[in-house]
């Protein structure tokens, strides 16, 4: 685990707000692709009641997504937890079957054309272009 978080002077860098080690029990980071920024997550039905002992942060994440799907990036944005921590928490929650995960379809030439065309149409509709 990184344990050398010195205060950062540079503008765009901020030091982590949370003691990483405590929240994650020293767990290894799941690979990025497992919970990409654009993967969607939502609490499983009854998850809140089913969940046993959760860290306050895992509980915070679960509560946030009880009412609907949000992206991994949005979970990080709303909870102010670093994305790396959110990923570990989601891995724990998924292991305990407490969340549903919708992962983005990987890119492939054939799906791409349809997808990009849908994006174009969606943008035109939305912005009246």
């Amino acid at each position: 685990m990184p344990d050398e978080h010195e205060p950062e002077q540079e503008l765009e860098l901020t030091s982590p707000l949370v003691p990483l080690f405590v929240i994650t029990n020293g767990r290894a980071l799941p690979p990025d692709h497992q919970y990409e920024h654009t993967a969607l997550v939502m609490a499983a039905e009854g998850a809140s009641a089913m969940a046993g002992a959760l860290s306050p942060e895992a509980r915070q994440v679960l509560d946030l997504i009880t009412e609907g799907f949000l992206s991994v990036a949005e979970v990080a944005g709303h909870t102010h937890l670093p994305v790396g921590i959110v990923r570990i928490l989601l891995a724990q929650l998924e292991e305990d079957s407490l969340i549903l995960v919708r992962r983005p379809v990987p890119r492939a030439e054939r799906v791409d054309r349809e997808l990009v065309s849908a994006v174009l149409e969606g943008l035109k509709n939305r912005f009246g272009a």
């Binding site: 050398e4 860098l13 920024h37 654009t38 944005g77 670093p82 969606g122 943008l123 509709n125």
Partner: protein, 186 residues
């Protein structure tokens, strides 16, 4: 705040550019949600070397990244990620560029030289891109051809003017990029 339960596909486009070029402003003008911010971890070499092994020191720091969201249909949502263009954020790019449809590269015509490292990153990650020449008050109006030439762009790379504070101007720039993506797919 929550997504439509029918949303089954998410896509992403990167809004990139050098420091202070208008990435966050652009995302703010387009996003349907109040733009959010994530903390991304990166490792960087720090000053000096490890005394015993002689290897460069490495440290983990976090970088803030802004993003926004656009629901495009019952089943499709687009995320816009504002990605800083400094070479030392390469690790972040590696992850964000994976699966991204393309990049809108914002440039400031008065600081074009600052865009070279950004273009290097975009190209090294194989992202298809369009250039949005952001208008700042007081700037002279630079002919787009001059921008194209100064940045050494290929003839088919779209270059459009925009004022990223204005949705009516950011949206056409984004649409230009997506039209370009279509032509690239043949």
């Amino acid at each position: 705040m929550y997504l439509d339960p029918d949303v089954s596909q998410t896509v992403k486009i990167l809004i990139v550019g050098h420091f202070g070029v208008g990435k966050t402003t652009c995302i703010g003008s387009l996003s349907e949600i109040e733009p959010l911010r994530t903390e991304e971890e990166i490792t960087e070499a720090s000053e000096g070397f490890d005394d015993l092994s002689g290897t460069p020191h490495k440290k983990t720091t976090t970088v803030a990244m802004d993003f926004g969201r656009l629901t495009l249909s019952d089943s499709l949502v687009l995320y816009l990620f504002g990605t800083p263009g400094q070479e030392r954020f390469k690790e972040m790019w590696e992850e964000l560029s994976r699966g991204a449809l393309g990049a809108l590269v914002l440039v400031d015509p008065e600081r074009l030289h600052e865009s070279f490292p950004v273009l290097d990153l975009v190209e090294s990650f194989g992202l298809t891109y369009a250039i949005g020449v952001n208008h700042f008050e007081g700037n002279t109006d630079y002919p787009l051809d001059e921008v194209r030439e100064a940045l050494n762009l290929s003839a088919d790379t779209p270059v459009v003017k925009c004022d990223v504070r204005d949705e009516g101007s950011s949206a056409p720039a984004l649409i230009t990029l997506v039209q370009h993506l279509m032509t690239q797919l043949g």
